[in-house]
Symmetry: C2
Amino acid sequence: MLVIPRGFKFSGISCGIKEKGGKDLALIYATQPCVACGMFTQNKFKAHPVLIDIERLKEGEAQVILANSGCANALSGKEGKEDALAISRQLSSLLGIKESHLLLASTGVIGKRLPVEKINKSLPLLIEKIKEEGVGDAAEAIMTTDTFPKIYFIETKIKGRGKKSIRIGGIAKGAGMISPQLATMLCFLFTDACIDREALGESLKTAVEGSFNRILVDGDMSTNDTVIALASGLARNPRIKTDSDNFPLFAESLTEVARELAKMIAKDGEGATKLIEIRVKGAWDAKDAHRAARSIARSPLVKTAIYGGDPNWGRILCALGQVKVKFKPHRVILKIQGIKVFENLEPVIKDRKELINKLQEKKVLLEINLQHGHHRTVFWTCDLTEEYVKINAHYHT
Amino acid sequence: MLVIPRGFKFSGISCGIKEKGGKDLALIYATQPCVACGMFTQNKFKAHPVLIDIERLKEGEAQVILANSGCANALSGKEGKEDALAISRQLSSLLGIKESHLLLASTGVIGKRLPVEKINKSLPLLIEKIKEEGVGDAAEAIMTTDTFPKIYFIETKIKGRGKKSIRIGGIAKGAGMISPQLATMLCFLFTDACIDREALGESLKTAVEGSFNRILVDGDMSTNDTVIALASGLARNPRIKTDSDNFPLFAESLTEVARELAKMIAKDGEGATKLIEIRVKGAWDAKDAHRAARSIARSPLVKTAIYGGDPNWGRILCALGQVKVKFKPHRVILKIQGIKVFENLEPVIKDRKELINKLQEKKVLLEINLQHGHHRTVFWTCDLTEEYVKINAHYHT
């Protein structure tokens, strides 16, 4: 049973944007205006829905998110903006809510126009279908090359008066164009916590930093990456502010939800067969830890070796050595699947067969200890397979 | 007919380093000590031959290069250094030249020990076989996953007294772990020009900047990348110094040779079917031009789209927009194969079929005009195919 935060309803239908069919239009509906925050792609070419949301979120309130897959509405010219606004107007009038309370998100092929008429015609059905349990349909409707919908919900008891429980959850999509610079996919987070805008914004930053900024599929940053958080307040807890006792707890819980969704995205990278977790410790500072982990996560040679179940550990150290990270080569220790493979500048594998066997597992753990400081990080990526190439060589046509 | 620079002989044989057989040991032999310069990987984990060469080149003279494929002699522990020195001692005594005049280079799997005995036993045959026409054998013996040997030689008339001709040439290997940070593969350049060390060093910097620093296969920087230039002086031209009239001409010629070899490396990237040339102009400064070109060259989504002959131009702009480069999105113009596809933030493709047809060609040209300054660059890469994944998932085992 999913513990849907109070005050949220969802629906997802097929309206014909995706040529191959399948759900492609999602509605996330709050029963009343929510405190709202967003984080968006840092790509200079931003999709129209991203530009519209950035503008609308300045007020810090929103009630509805309309998201589509199959068309990114990015680099689609001035008409692309008109398309988005025409849909927004129609939805706003059907729901009777302010346009500024309505957010948009699109994902799919870049440079294509949205089929406005198809979408607008489908809005009444989409609205009719909203319900709490519609979250699965909504998660499915934002999928592109994802192989499974990404949904995660938790319930947490908070401290103080009445020991209220708050609920936090989210849905996300990922698969390709995944690189950890701010928000890097679509993710919608919901909570019924009563929280002010600043505290929600700060929590979202922490959550994104600890989740989506630590995953990478192919290192490409999309034009459409969007993370939006809505808080309905219906848990009726004492309002959480940045100086509240419950603020760290809330931020942690939001991070947990975001991290689980992020790991699902990494695991479901285009063509992926394995989830790779990279733990770096002993780094001089947080940036060094991040840079080291990211360079390994991005290396096609590391990713293909892990796909092949090949204990080619030299590629991991090579990827580490190629970025500007402070460390002394002779102090570096590398473990793969818990087995020490390199220390004191010497290969130290005792049982190569055991290592090869452990590399067959669906989750591969790489641990790097730089022994140069006290900072650490965790990063997630996936292997690189022929299937990734197949998917992306022919995605457009 | 190759115009081999006067004073150079070569050989290449199979000595059993490569498990699958094939030539794997190359000797480059100058009949007398040469002015010598080198540029090496910036990876913190440097292979033993790289560390040895850096030390030996401090004197600025060298006469012989011994190179092997099949084993990188990198991250191979203290024994790896001993292995390299044992081979060096043996070769030095056989040839009767100073050890400090002998350079080493290795390429292949990281973390493996060199078969010292096999190599030392093969040295007499390797020496016996040296001849001018041996350059093809030497180029073949440094190949790993390369599909063709990379050789390029030119002859140039220089200005002044007697209008002497000088010859410049080189051999190179590439294929995987190719990323443009300094020298990123093995390349040996030879000239019979009479040139002093400073002028040779400056020319080499220019040449590497305009060639190997502008190619990228997978973005991984090897532990073994090496570019060495040897100048025999046997052209008997007036010695070229950095303030000579002939200095720019020499640097340009060396750059030409390096660039042609670099393009061969990009074209022959692991699994590649197409050479991609990326021209960026209108950049604010040289760094911006480089960053923009490199981001596009590195993007797996761009590389797979081109492999698939898919005019998915949005991915090119997306790769451009994700790096820190100064430009205004509305001023960017993108051409593919000479056809304008994007301008004024609008897609402007008139004939999609023509574009698709032109993308079938073996060479694909991407032109980006940022219209934000006066700097430009050219960059080369290759497409990303299933074959790249196949090669690298199972290279080790």
